[in-house]
Amino acid sequence: MMHRDSLNSQQVMMYSVLGIALFLSVWYGAVALEVTPKQFLPSPHEVLIKLSSLLTQPFSGFTLLAHIASSFQRFLYGFLLAICIGIPLGLLMALSKNTDRLITPFFESIRFVAPIAWVPFAALWFGTGIGGPVLVIFMGAFPPVLINTYRGAIHVDKKFIEAAQMLGAGRLRLMVEVLFPAAIPSIVAGLRISAGLGWQSLIGAELIVASSGVGYMMVKGQASIQTDIVMSGMIAIGIIGLAIDIGLRMIEKLVSKYREN
């Protein structure tokens, strides 16, 4: 019956297992039926074997762990740069209408360009150096940080600002002690979006302008038609992306718990 279709947790578990089983059997089935030559479609366990071997054996110059480290390092630089510029700028724009008017048109025109479209300029300006991917990551991670900081700070009651000004607080202190604390929940929420976009943009950039990193590894795997390497890369990217998201989610929880006290 349409109205009695709620499932209890046991049933959900059962159907979920069924789902995974279906997925794997289709995969194994395709491999067994030799839908495409073996090189193009490795079986699931072959991918996992390759993945674990890549952890210690280098491919295209580095082990998987080293590639991951390289990618993550770029991500971190771009992400931190976005935070270091985005948060202060967002607070300043919320405080000063002049700054707002100055920056907004510039920001709005750049904002809608997909981060990936910055790759050509990145290549042009930075070659295959680290600046390239960092620029692309920055372009992806920056907008959510700026927007969320601005939104969080702009809703602060004018009275608090005026009271602080009356007590002699200069712009800097206003930003740090009044606006920033108020904007924290919004900022933290924006960080998750920002990290997600940044990580995605990184992969795109590495497919084109990198000499190390997980994206680069996958391109090399693709060029030599080693599909198991390509898939290993995809799994690694997914896991790291998930880990970043979970990490930020925990920070979000800690921050809101801290604020309740």
Partner: protein, 233 residues
């Protein structure tokens, strides 16, 4: 301004004059295998096809997952496993499987555009008010009517949100895919211009991408008004 700051050498940053000149070139004489309108048509054509296929598939799956808890429980784990993999990360695999042509691009766009449609449609279907659901049961309407006259209209606002996100994702992914390897299309302009060290042309490419994307989004917004007449009386 950046020129004046000397941060980046002058010949790697486009001036307005250069940009206008490049725009004329590509529109009238052509650049990188075609004139501007040919590149635009190629890109828009690909995006439209891929978007329509992914959106249709995504909305359908979202409807079934939303209406039927068993289907939701079966599909969810597959979804959750594949979701963390960014669509762009599928590009190398797509190239291995389908080569450097259009079908690889369609595959990657599909991966990107499919997900937002599914999720938003699903949420939309689930948002059906409880009392309305019971009213439909009480009225004894056919299963088909329940889907077409109750579930889908309820989900419409969110379905369109999902379509908007899918369209954006389609554009972004297309440009990335064309950057990696394409002969014709807006992304290929960017690629060619980078190789030719032609910053003005890069800018032309980026602006074209932004304008086309904006236009398609407006079209979608117009369709949205059309599909939900009861919201605008």
């Amino acid at each position: 301004m950046t020129q004046w700051l000397g941060i980046i050498s002058a010949n790697r940053f486009p001036t307005p004059a250069d940009t206008w000149a490049s725009l004329k070139t590509i529109a009238l004489r052509g650049y990188g295998n075609g004139k501007l309108h040919q590149h635009i048509l190629q890109s828009i054509g690909l995006v439209t096809i891929a978007f329509l296929v992914s959106a249709a598939a995504g909305v359908l799956l979202g409807i079934f997952m939303g209406a039927n808890r068993k289907i939701e429980a079966i599909v969810n784990p597959i979804f959750l496993t594949l979701r963390p993999i960014p669509p762009l990360a599928w590009i190398p695999l797509a190239i291995v499987w389908l080569g450097l042509g259009n079908s690889a691009k369609v595959m990657v766009i599909f991966v990107a555009a499919f997900v937002p449609s599914v999720i938003n449609t699903f949420t939309g279907i689930r948002s059906l008010d409880n009392a309305q659901r019971e009213a439909a049961l009480m009225l004894g309407v056919s299963r088909f009517s329940y889907y077409t006259e109750v579930l889908i209209p309820t989900a419409m606002p969110l379905i369109f949100s999902g379509l908007r996100l899918s369209l954006q994702a389609s554009w972004t992914t297309l440009v990335a895919a064309e950057l990696v390897g394409a002969v014709l299309g807006l992304g290929s302009i960017l690629n060619q211009a980078a190789q030719d060290i032609n910053p003005a042309m890069i800018l032309v490419g980026m602006m074209s991408v932004a304008v086309c994307g904006w236009l398609m989004t407006q079209l979608l917004a117009y369709l949205e008004k059309f599909a939900m007449p009861w919201r605008h009386t």
